[in-house]
Each structure stands twice: as structure tokens, then as C-alpha cells.
């Protein structure tokens, strides 16, 4: 009997990235992965910056100048937003992994995302308006 193997393709590897037509659980999964990648990237960046700062006060001043850059500020906003989303969804994952609320996982996701949006709006106003 002829058997042809499905070749792994770039499309298949990245198919989780935008779970088009998938149910909300897959969107939560994608969100968690993307925020995880973002936060990991930020972590490395943070360590690199700390390393630079260890080189003395001059490096510190030039770093402070950087933080005024609106793109950097947006990046910082993104990091905090990502942490909030990832953290709250993470609580949902922990709960369902212990069998709590598995049959209500969609409602859990929507509920936590509402909280996330409220918190993000709150800290956004704090961050940009003060």
C-alpha cells in the first residue's frame, strides 16, 4: 500500500501562531506562547542592560536617556501587559491542570481577560498620564 509522508512544512510548524478558525482555547494557548517568547526575550535584554550598567555611571546616564524614547516606553508597556496576560492565563492553566474548572475553561479565560484588560487600562493611564 502506498504511503506518502506529510512533510513538515513551515506552515505546519507555525500553524499554532495564528489559530484561525480554532476555538478560544487555542487562542489562549497562542497568547500564552507569544507572551512567553516576549517575556523571555525581555529577560535576556534586561540581563544585557544590567551588564552594561555594571560598567559605571556614564553607562547609567546614557541608559536613562534611552528610557525617554517613546518606542522603548511602548516596549516597557508591552512587557507589563504581557506579564499580566501571561500571569492571569497562567493561573487558569494551573487551575485546569489540577482539574479545577476544566469544563469552564472558556469562561475562566474570558473572566481573566476582562480582569487583565482592566488592570492594563489602569496601569496604562498611570504610565502615560500619571
Amino acid at each position: 500500500m502506498a504511503t506518502t509522508r506529510n512533510q513538515p512544512s513551515a506552515r505546519r510548524f507555525w500553524s499554532w501562531f495564528i489559530p484561525i478558525r480554532r476555538d478560544i482555547g487555542s487562542w489562549a494557548f497562542a497568547l500564552n506562547r507569544i507572551t512567553a517568547l516576549g517575556l523571555t526575550f525581555y529577560l535576556f535584554l534586561h540581563l544585557i542592560v544590567l551588564g552594561l550598567l555594571a560598567q559605571g555611571p556614564g553607562a547609567y546616564d546614557s541608559f536613562l536617556a534611552l528610557t525617554e524614547n517613546p518606542f522603548i516606553k511602548l516596549g516597557e508597556w508591552a512587557v507589563v501587559a504581557a506579564a499580566i496576560l501571561h500571569g492571569l492565563n497562567g493561573i487558569r492553566i494551573v487551575l485546569t491542570s489540577f482539574g479545577v474548572g476544566v469544563t469552564r475553561q472558556k469562561q475562566l479565560f474570558y473572566g481573566f481577560m476582562v480582569i487583565a484588560i482592566v488592570v492594563i487600562l489602569f496601569f496604562t493611564t498611570k504610565m502615560y498620564i500619571g
Binding site: 500500500m1 502506498a2 504511503t3 506518502t4
Partner: protein, 388 residues
């Protein structure tokens, strides 16, 4: 000495059961099928493990075949069966009048039956029509069509049979003297044709028997007779449910997983490759089904389908016998090397295979006796799980 090679055309119930029997008797078997296991009629069968009660009055030969094979299948392949028995219920005067001959005929065919009072029937099956006037318990059952075939196919594969699915027979290979000595197949998955040689070719294509024998220039007396099935999305009963009367349309309801399946109708058809479903047949199943189980009116159809039974012999529709026939074409048309097995019911697949294997082995001088009655089948998963 090498084993004789038998090619079986068709991987429905008849084909896989025959492959299983022949493999156990020492043949090298190759099954060729243009689709996959149970692509034709076998896949879309109702799934009734017949007790024979339905045929006891008018078709005693089939009835006895059914009850005998019913007990054998319960022993050798319980993994695919819901073995909860069945009820014949009477709802009106005509049904009641049928009861006496029903009882006599079942006893004649050694089909065990037990008469129930209406209230006891309702206690066993609360969802049947509350106006039930009389009821009989008989050893019907439900089976999963594909998995029944997979169990036979997987066991045959384990015993050396080869399965070439997506291989369509396009013609026979003839020797110089007008006998069949092989088949020409198209591998549909690879778009390649090849020739396969065999000592005997078994035509187990059911409703397509005539189309296949035509490739050798002869016809088979099979009459494709389609019928409709409608599956509803609630498991209303635990047992098979039959109408206590002569066989008619929509008088069988079977539970299967979380559904019940109502069937069926019976009419002639020409084109067997695709049989359309018609609205009037769907309506008829709803009408007749809700006579037996009123709750069906409040449930949704889950699947609706048609397939053609391979009926042999004279008459048409419901008057045709449900028995099976095996033709050695050396005797019918002086064309050696080709045997056709057709007709029959899913419940009698093992018996059909035994008869066919007897004919084939006689031609090949194989004297090994048939052991399929006592041989438990392997897990149906073996068909896919074991390598090709």
C-alpha cells in the same frame, strides 16, 4: 511447497471474512479493494446482529443461519457488539394477529424467545410506545459495522493475508484457455497499474458482483436493493426494537453509542456507486420510527445514508430471500479460476466465508478444515496497528 495464492476482490464483510478463513486454511491471500475497508454496502449496514426473528416466518433458511451465526459472533468477536438483546413489540390488531405464527416459527428455528406483558416491556424500555400491546424478547444485538470487518481483516493480516486498499480491479488476466488466472489492478494512490496472478480469484464485491463478473464476460444474478437509514441523536433504548409483523419499511430501531438508527426501505436501483437520499424516505423513517419510539419526534437526525444490499435469487424487494449463494464459475460458465460469493447478511459473514473457502479449497486440493467457528478474533485495531 509454496502456498496457493488466492486473490479476494472486495474488502467488505464477505471479503474480509473469506480472507480470514482462507488464511487459517493455509492459503496466501491478497485482498484488493478500490476503496478502504467497508467502503460499500458493509459500511452502511444497519448493524443488527440478527436473532433471526425477523425472518422466522417467511424465510426460515435465513432465520436459522442468523441465530446460529449470532451465537458464534458473540463468542469470537464480543469487542464490536452491544449484546443487549432485542424486543419485538405489537402495537395494533394486525401485529397481535402475527404473534402466533411468530412464536411457532421462532421455535421451529430454535430462536429463544420470551413473551412479556406490556407493563414489563415498558419497565425494561420506558421510551417505547406506551400503547404496546405485547412484546417478545429475543437475542438480537447491535454491532459496529467497520470494526466487525476490521476484526476479521486484522486477524487475517496477522495470519499472513495482504491487503491492497485503493487498488481497483480493471479486468481479469486470462490464460490461453478462457480461464481466469489473475487480475489487472490500478493502484489509485500511486496512479500505477499492475497485474497480479492467482490460483483462484474470489469475487466478494456484493452489490457490484455483476459489474465484476462482466469483466469476464458473464453476469451474476445479484439485484442491488438499496435502503435508507436515519440515525437520531439520543439513545432511547438499550436493545434492538422490531415491529411485530411481516418485514416492512422503518420497522427496526437499533441503539448504537449515543444514537438510535431507524431503518429501512427496500427498492430496486441501477447505479450502485452513488444512491441519493430522498426526502420522502427520510419522512417515512420519522413516521415509522416514532410509532415505535414516540420520543424520536423530539430528537435531531445525526446522519442519513443509503446503501445497496446484494440480494440474490428471484423476486424483488422484500419478497427476495436474504440468503447467500456461492458460484464456482467453472460449473456455471466453464470459466475456471473465478468464484463469486454474494447475497447474504452481515450477521452471516462467517458462514458465507466458510462456504466460499470450502469451494476454493476444494479447487486447490486443500483439506484443512474450517476453524473459524471456534477461533476468537484479534483486536480490531490490529488491522491498522500491524505494519503492511
Amino acid at each position: 511447497m509454496s502456498k496457493p495464492h488466492v486473490i479476494v476482490i472486495g474488502a467488505g464483510f464477505t471479503g474480509v471474512a473469506t480472507a480470514h478463513d482462507l488464511a487459517l486454511r493455509g492459503c496466501d491471500v491478497t485482498v484488493v479493494e478500490r476503496g478502504d475497508i467497508c467502503h460499500g454496502t458493509s459500511g452502511r449496514t444497519h448493524g443488527l446482529l440478527h436473532s433471526g426473528g425477523r425472518y422466522a416466518v417467511k424465510d426460515k433458511e435465513s432465520a436459522v443461519e442468523c441465530i446460529d451465526e449470532n451465537l458464534i459472533l458473540r463468542k469470537i468477536v464480543p469487542q464490536v457488539i452491544e449484546p443487549n438483546g432485542g424486543l419485538f413489540i405489537g402495537l395494533n390488531e394486525s401485529d397481535l394477529a402475527y404473534a402466533e405464527q411468530f412464536i411457532e416459527s421462532c421455535e421451529e428455528c430454535h430462536i429463544p424467545l420470551e413473551e412479556l406483558k406490556p407493563q414489563d416491556a415498558l419497565k425494561l424500555e420506558p421510551n417505547i410506545n406506551p400503547k404496546v400491546l405485547t412484546a417478545f424478547l429475543i437475542p438480537d444485538g447491535t454491532f459496529d459495522p467497520l470494526r466487525l470487518a476490521l476484526a476479521f481483516a486484522g486477524t487475517a493480516k496477522h495470519n499472513g493475508a495482504k491487503f491492497r486498499t485503493y487498488h481497483e480491479v480493471q479486468g481479469f488476466v486470462m490464460d490461453g484457455q478462457g480461464n481466469v488466472c489473475g487480475v489487472k489492478v490500478l493502484d489509485r494512490a500511486a496512479n500505477k497499474t499492475e497485474e497480479m496472478r492467482a490460483d483462484v480469484v474470489v469475487n466478494a464485491t456484493g452489490a457490484w458482483s455483476g459489474e465484476v463478473t462482466a469483466m469476464a464476460g458473464l453476469d451474476a444474478p445479484v439485484k442491488p436493493t438499496p435502503g435508507i437509514m436515519v440515525a437520531y441523536d439520543q439513545r432511547f433504548v438499550q436493545r434492538a426494537l422490531n415491529r411485530l409483523n411481516v418485514p416492512s419499511d422503518g420497522d427496526i430501531i437499533l441503539p448504537q453509542r449515543r444514537m438510535v438508527v431507524v431503518g429501512t426501505t427496500s427498492y430496486d436501483a441501477e447505479n450502485v456507486d452513488y444512491i441519493p437520499v430522498t426526502d420522502d424516505q427520510i419522512k417515512l423513517m420519522l413516521e415509522r420510527g416514532s410509532e415505535l419510539i414516540p420520543g424520536i419526534r423530539n430528537s435531531k437526525p445525526r446522519g442519513i445514508y443509503m446503501a445497496a444490499r446484494p440480494l440474490v435469487g428471484g423476486g424483488s424487494g422484500r419478497s427476495m430471500a436474504r440468503t447467500f449463494k456461492c458460484y464456482d464459475h467453472k460449473e456455471t460458465h466453464n470459466i475456471d479460476g473465478l468464484v463469486t460469493i454474494t447475497g447474504g447478511k452481515a450477521t452471516t459473514l462467517r458462514a458465507m466465508a466458510e462456504k466460499t473457502a470450502d469451494v476454493v479449497c476444494a479447487k486447490l486440493d486443500i483439506t484443512t478444515p474450517c476453524v473459524t467457528k471456534e477461533t476468537p478474533l484479534l483486536s480490531y485495531r490490529q488491522y491498522y496497528a500491524s505494519p503492511n
